[in-house]
């Protein structure tokens, strides 16, 4: 992701009220991390697995934080059980910031990733998780704040899948 886009993403998260982000780093959106780390608005929590990233975000959300989980698309599969048992069954609002690895518009798609991409939407739909695909940075502030409003209204996770412009190398 280009630096300017990473910067606009962080501003969008901040303006939408997100203040807690658990995460496992990945390749496509990673330029956000130094910016998030440098901004006191965010409690940035590095974890070892997307499965616990979901649980940790849930705990923070139940205590009043506006929580997000940043992960690679593969993390949606890793954390499916936790998304279902804590996010959906318990009903906890959290924003999933997902790099849509292996999607058709993924600018770094190869045979390593494509099988994840084509199963992402069926996986989210099976879990009952609302999602939006974001291919470019146009109007990113509104897209993030809409998702945050939806997660609070639904009281469950809502996913933003980033591909296209977001997957271009720096």
């Amino acid at each position: 992701m280009k630096a300017e886009l990473a910067n606009r993403m962080v501003v969008a998260l901040k303006n939408s009220g997100i203040d807690f982000i658990s995460h496992v780093p990945e390749t496509r959106l990673s330029e956000m991390l130094p910016l998030l780390k440098a901004d006191d608005t965010f409690m940035l929590v590095p974890v070892a697995s997307e499965a616990e990233a979901v649980g940790i975000a849930a705990g923070a959300a139940l205590a009043g934080k506006r929580a997000a989980v940043y992960m690679e698309g593969t993390g949606v599969f890793v954390s499916a059980y936790n998304l279902l048992t804590v996010g959906i069954r318990y009903g906890v609002p959290m924003l999933l910031l997902v790099s849509y690895i292996g999607s058709v518009e993924d600018q770094r798609n190869t045979f390593l990733y494509s099988q994840y991409g084509c199963r992402m939407i069926p996986q989210l739909e099976a879990l009952g998780i609302e999602y939006r695909i974001i291919e470019d940075g146009g109007n990113i502030g509104a897209k993030v704040s809409n998702a945050v409003r939806a997660m609070h209204a639904l009281k469950q996770p809502v996913a933003l899948l980033f591909t296209g412009e977001f997957t271009e190398a720096q």
Partner: protein, 199 residues
């Protein structure tokens, strides 16, 4: 050591500490002995440690107790290095280790019945205060310290496999009711709104 006896002793001592429970008999027994709004019964394996970490980070002024089982911790071992590195000083984890998947009804042995030592795994992950207790008196010492002192504690409680919880009438308070009760309690005691959005 009998888990119910541990809880029977501890429950009356709890005040404003937050408690997260996972699944298994400890959920039923703690729910029977403690009717506090500050109790968060998750009703699932492999999530209580993570949710407890999130609560402890978001509310550093509150003490968070997590009651886990050996099977549940084994399902989520990645929590241990994360917990070690975050090192929340307001969190105490008690793992009730009966060395079996008791819910199977056939006492199917867990890894702790074999070669695995969860306190050693936690210690190796970087949790400095990681101990095993096998006697009620030692449990009381650790729990008393957790109530009154700071610092992350990870206490593996070796217990006998018991089926006493199967005779306890199960609560009809479902997960959503538990969640709302817990969140409204926090809103009241922390003086801040948690769930956004008005109808």
């Amino acid at each position: 050591m009998i888990r119910y006896e541990c809880f029977e002793w501890l429950a009356p001592l709890m005040t404003d500490q937050l408690v997260v429970t996972s699944l298994s008999g400890q959920r039923v027994e703690w729910g029977h002995l403690s009717k506090r709004e500050a109790d968060l019964n998750l009703g699932s394996m492999g999530n209580a440690l993570a949710v407890g970490i999130g609560l402890a980070l978001a509310l550093p002024q509150r003490k968070v107790f997590v009651f886990e089982s050996d099977g549940s911790v084994l399902l989520s071992l990645f929590n241990l290095p994360t917990l070690a590195n975050l090192n929340p000083p307001n969190m105490a984890v008690f793992v009730f280790d009966n060395q079996a998947y008791s819910g199977t009804r056939i006492s199917y042995p867990s890894a702790t019945a074999g070669k695995t030592d969860l306190a050693a795994v936690a210690k190796g992950s970087g949790i400095e205060h990681s101990v095993t207790v096998s006697a009620l008196a030692d449990f009381k010492k650790e729990a008393t310290a957790a109530l009154h002192d700071g610092g992350l504690r990870f206490v593996v409680c070796k217990i006998e496999e018991s089926v006493g919880h199967r005779n306890i009438t199960r609560s009809d308070v479902d997960l959503l009711e538990t969640k709302y009760r817990f969140v409204r309690y926090l809103e009241r005691t922390e003086g801040k709104p948690i769930f956004q959005g008005r109808g």
